[in-house]
Structure formats: structure tokens, C-alpha cells
């Protein structure tokens, strides 16, 4: 993984010192709240329902064991003993004290972590495939490009006051695990006709109150031209994006209003100028960054791994976990492990400080000291020897992290909702917990199979409900929580926005409604169809009938 150099360290240390001064000036009254608010937001500090919330950036979701231990320390020393991993591959601490925030940031800077650009109308943390560099289906590792984008976009003077926040995602695989079609810019590494590798460039995706699937504006961009092309897109957006209406300020609205062809034409026109500048990184610099992402020193392992196969055959719980929580690795004898942060009935994405320490230790012992955070609010250990899987699983089980449910009905994505968030209109977490409890049966989970359930507590869609096979949106209906259900959303390479199935449900009835949707799937599926395959074949009708009676 990338290691900060003197420039990076100087930058974040200076930022800590600057923020320490700003906090002091706020507390002694030199700064008013109106003056201070944009400054604290630039450092990831929000005022939420109960207290300040600090959002810490995890660049493209990659953490070292050392960094994870520091997050555990922050949770224990400065917060309430836990953190919340988000759908943006970041972590949030919900009970920060303003006076202590400079100390937190100082401690985070000691391990190259910070909260810069985790808020505000800037280019946010670039997100990526949590299996980057280890999956079989990858054209090229996207992380070096994420790092190049991170360096380019950090404190970029031209793009520090955009019309609205801006999110970029990069994937290196045909199978999209990074939801690139739901980002302001999505980049997909691909092979061109001549065998060279470049990017498919997509723009205008997003969720929120106006969900849009991104469109492709360039089928193939030589990868050396990445930054000048990004600069051209941002420049067109910065010039024409609306600043008069916060609800129409995202790039998706500009792309819609101009039309995809016209937007692409303007970007190409701008790019003719931009590519002549020095925006693109040199070959030497690209190679320097790429060197941080070379594969770790894997062992040569004889396969099949007998001890692993024996454990699978002898322990059914372990076998279930292997089937759901591990994924094929490109190196024979290794596996990719997803640690579920969705214990049955638990809070999606929450992790206790001692669990963070345990994962840090496990990563150090078994996975070259590297941990990834997924946008599905789970963690990944990307380099596990198959012979170590059984011991790893036992330790995860011992510490409440062995739930075998990745990709199943209880692997629910949920935003913090009205339990924490100042913007929320309804609670998300209790709904997730009740659904999790309702489906907490191994045979039933296996029978239902692959399905995604996403819950947002307001129209801002931080729980990505538009992209859930079953999406649940909490709203305030005359002072009561109500939940609208959408079906058919997905965030992979076949990205689709969920369709509203009908009138919403009360807080008491929404879990029954979800169960009815699942039953409608089981009644209507053909062969081994997954939920989304059945939905794509049948459309809404059988689900509507199950939920509301006759059509």
C-alpha cells in the first residue's frame, strides 16, 4: 500500500496545526459559528444529532494494521469505544468533542490518516474495488490510479469550491464491485483494440433525490491521459454546474440538462486544451506510485490444500462461512476473506475498538498487515492462505466477527439514520436489525440466496437504497416513520435504479412487507434464479400482488 512521503506528511501535519488554531479561535470567540462551520467541515467534522461526528478518510478503503490499531485507540480514548464504517469506505466517530478534535487529528496524522476532503464541495475520497489487485477477473489493479487521483485532487486549487461534492470510483474488473455507475465519475480499466490498457469514462451517476445511472462519454481513454481528462470534466462542471439550487448542483443534473452528447463534446473540446498542460503524471511518477502496489511476497502453495479441504468437510459452520465469506484469489492456495460487520441483529458497519485491534492483529499475522473497507460496510483480508482459513475463522467467531452472511439477506447496508444523523427523517438501523433477526436461519438464508437489501433514513440515500435489490427509504409521514420499498436496484455492471413497488409501509409493517417480497421471489423463481434475475424476468407485478393483493 502507498506510504506517505515528506510532502504528504507535511501537508497533513500543517493541516492539523491549522485546525488546532481554528478551533482555539472558535472557542475563544474570535471566529463565529458561521465563519467556523466551513472550516470544520473541511476537516470532516460535522455537528450531528447527539454530538460532533468526525469522518476519517480511508483512501480507496485500504488500511494497514498499524492504522487500524490507531482507529481502535481513537475509538477508545476519544469516543465511545466504537466506530462506524460507511458506504464511502470511510469511518465515522459519532461522539467527538470539538476541543479534542485537533488531538485526534494529530494522532491520526502519526499513522498517515486524516479527515481532509471528507466533507464539503470538493473531490471526496476516491473509492474502488475492495478486491483490487487480488481478483481473478481484473484487467489491471486500479489502486495506483486511485492514489494518483488522491494526490491530484487533494487541495486542488481549481476544484476546491465546486458546485457540489464530487465522487470518483475506479474499478479494474469487468464485474463491477465499486458501483462506478453510481458515481459522478466512474472509471473502468479495460483493454483497447490494440491490447493497450485504458479507461472507459462514465459520468453523471449518483443516488440522492435524483438517482441516475452514469453514461459513458468516452469508450477508451489512454491511461496516461487520465488526469487531463478528469481536469476537463471537472472544468466543464465547475463552469456550468448550478450553484443557485443545491438540489440541482450535482454533475448528473448538468449532464441531463445539456444532454450526454453535448456534455461529452464540451469535455472533449476542453480536453484539447487540458491535455497540452502538464496535468498528466509522468511515466516515472506513475511507476513510482505503482511500485507501492506490487503484490506481497506470496508463498508458492501446492493445491489442493488438504488441511483446508479436511476442515471444510468436517465442520459445517466453517464450510458455510467459506462458501459465503471467501472469494477466489488470483494466486493458487490463497483466498480473499470478507469479514462481515453485520452480526445477526447487529448494527451494520459498527465495530468495537477491541474488534478493530483483533482484526489488525489477524491482518498482521495472516494478510501482510493489510485491511480493506468495502462500500458494503464490511472488511476484507485480501491475502489469506487457505491453510490459515480455519484458524482465522475460529478467531473471528471468538470475537463476534464470524457471521457467515456476505451477499445474503442479513448482509444489509444501512445508513446511521435518525438514530444519529441530523438530516435523517426516519430510523434505518432498527429496521436492518429486525430484518436481520427475521431471516436469521441458516437454511432460509441459503434458500433465499444472493440478495441485497439497502436502507436509507432519508432521500439523501447514504444507505444506497436505490441500488438495493430491495431498497427501503425511510420518510417522515405526518410525524410518523414510514418506509417506501423499491425493487430491482443493483450497483454492478448492470446497474439499475430500483422501482417503487407501491404505497409505503409503517414502521411496524415494513419488515413483514420485506418478508412478503422475499416470499414472492421464492414463489416465482425458476430453477436457480437469484432474486434479481427473477425480478428482471417478472417485473414488479408478482411482488405488487403479494404486497397489496389484486392488481
Amino acid at each position: 500500500m502507498y506510504v506517505y512521503d515528506t510532502y504528504d506528511k507535511t501537508l497533513i501535519n500543517q493541516r492539523v496545526a491549522e485546525f488546532r488554531g481554528q478551533v482555539a479561535r472558535r472557542v475563544n470567540g474570535e471566529l463565529t459559528e458561521d465563519q467556523f462551520k466551513p472550516l470544520r467541515l473541511l476537516n470532516g467534522l460535522y455537528l450531528q444529532l447527539h454530538a460532533y461526528m468526525l469522518r476519517v478518510c480511508i483512501p480507496y478503503g485500504v488500511l494497514s494494521s498499524h492504522q487500524m490499531r490507531k482507529l481502535a485507540h481513537v475509538a477508545r480514548r476519544y469516543d465511545k469505544g466504537y466506530g462506524h464504517f460507511t458506504t464511502r469506505q470511510n469511518i465515522q466517530f459519532n461522539w467527538s468533542k470539538l476541543e479534542e478534535t485537533p488531538d485526534i487529528l494529530y494522532e491520526l496524522a502519526e499513522v498517515d490518516l486524516h479527515a481532509i476532503q471528507t466533507s464539503g464541495n470538493v473531490i471526496r475520497n476516491t473509492t474502488s474495488d475492495h478486491f483490487a489487485g487480488v481478483s481473478n477477473d481484473e484487467v489491471e489493479d486500479p489502486r495506483p490510479y486511485c492514489e494518483i487521483i488522491r494526490q491530484w485532487s487533494t487541495l486542488h486549487p481549481e476544484f476546491s469550491f465546486l458546485p457540489r461534492k464530487f465522487k470518483i470510483a475506479v474499478t479494474g474488473s469487468e464485474h463491477d464491485r465499486a458501483a462506478v455507475k453510481f458515481h459522478d465519475i466512474g472509471l473502468r480499466l479495460k483493454k483497447g483494440a490494440n491490447g493497450n490498457i485504458g479507461f472507459e469514462v462514465l459520468v453523471g451517476g449518483g443516488q440522492g433525490r435524483t438517482p441516475v445511472v452514469a453514461i459513458t462519454i468516452r469508450n477508451f481513454l489512454p491511461k496516461q491521459q487520465l488526469l487531463s481528462y478528469l481536469e476537463a470534466i471537472l472544468r466543464v462542471y465547475n463552469r456550468h454546474g448550478r450553484r443557485d439550487n443545491i438540489y440541482k448542483a450535482r454533475i448528473k443534473i448538468l449532464v441531463r440538462d445539456l444532454g450526454g452528447c453535448e456534455f461529452a463534446k464540451q469535455v472533449e473540446d476542453e480536453w484539447r486544451h487540458a491535455r497540452k498542460t502538464n496535468a498528466n503524471v509522468s511515466f516515472e511518477e506513475e511507476e513510482r506510485i505503482r511500485a507501492f502496489f506490487v503484490p506481497p511476497p506470496y508463498h508458492a502453495i501446492e493445491t489442493p490444500v488438504v488441511s483446508f479441504q479436511k476442515a471444510c468437510s468436517e465442520d459445517v459452520s466453517f464450510r458455510n462461512w467459506v462458501l459465503t465469506n471467501t472469494y477466489d484469489h488470483k494466486i493458487p492456495g490463497y483466498a480473499i476473506v470478507t469479514i462481515s460487520l453485520k452480526p445477526h441483529g447487529g448494527i451494520p458497519g459498527d465495530m468495537a475498538d477491541d474488534q478493530m485491534d483483533i482484526v489488525a492483529d489477524l491482518a498482521q499475522a495472516y494478510s501482510f498487515g493489510e485491511i480493506r473497507v468495502t462500500h458494503k460496510q464490511n472488511l476484507v483480508l485480501a491475502h489469506i492462505r487457505q491453510e490459515d482459513l480455519f484458524v482465522l475463522w475460529q478467531k473471528l467467531v471468538e470475537h463476534g466477527m464470524g457471521t457467515a452472511n456476505v451477499g445474503l439477506a442479513t448482509d444489509i447496508i444501512a445508513c446511521p439514520g435518525l438514530d444519529y444523523c441530523g438530516l435523517a427523517t426516519a430510523r434505518s438501523i432498527p429496521i436492518a436489525q429486525r430484518i436481520s433477526e427475521r431471516f436469521n436461519d441458516r437454511d432460509r438464508l441459503n434458500d433465499i440466496g444472493k440478495i441485497s437489501i439497502n436502507i436509507s433514513g432519508c432521500i439523501n440515500a447514504c444507505g444506497h437504497h436505490h441500488a438495493g435489490n430491495i431498497g427501503i427509504l425511510g420518510v417522515d409521514k405526518r410525524g410518523n416513520e414510514a418506509y417506501q420499498i423499491t425493487l430491482g436496484g443493483r450497483s454492478d455492471e448492470h446497474a439499475a435504479i430500483g422501482q417503487i413497488v407501491g404505497p409505503g409501509f409503517s414502521e411496524e409493517r415494513v419488515v413483514d412487507a420485506v418478508e412478503n417480497v422475499v416470499e414472492a421471489y421464492i414463489e416465482n423463481r425458476e430453477g436457480k434464479e437469484t432474486f434479481i434475475e427473477t425480478f428482471d424476468r417478472t417485473g414488479l407485478d408478482p411482488f405488487k400482488e403479494k404486497l397489496y393483493g389484486t392488481l
Binding site: N28, E33, A51, Y52
Partner: protein, 98 residues
Amino acid sequence: MKVLAANRLVDGIVVYLSTNGTWTEHITDARKVSDEEEVAVLDIGVQAEAACEVVAPYLVDVASGEISVRPTRLRELIRENGPTVRLDLGRQSYQKAS
């Protein structure tokens, strides 16, 4: 009936304007604000923000009994007590303990 709520500047904890003009963490000690008093009480909040005591003051609807004061909206109820999914956190944790 309303009470004036805000977040304490230095730690963000939810506080209410009390009957004696200080800021309290306990809504039961909060000053009840009638319709006629709203503008004047909001001004107290603005002044407290300027004095670096609190941030983001606003009036919250409450139902008030003889000894109890309870926000009428779920959002404010959660804000007063703590997350409904973590009863060990927020005011509800130490109220329960005491």
C-alpha cells in the same frame, strides 16, 4: 409549548436553556417557552452562540406534564435520550443508571 435546544460548543452535547438561564443537559429542567416568548428566547440562543456557549439553537415542541417534559417529535426524543439502538449511550444511559 416549546423548549430551546442547542449543542454545547466544546463537546457538541445536546443542552436546553434552563429556567435559571444556564444550559442544562436535562430537559426536565428546561424553561418552557410560550408562543409569546419565542422571539425573545430565540434571541437568548443567538446571544449564547455568540458567547461561544452553544451552537445551532432552535425551539423544540414539547408536551409538558406536571413533572415531565417530553419532545413531541421522534427526532427530538432521540436527540434528548440517545440512539434507540444503543441504550448504553447518550442521556438514557446515565438516567437509567441513576
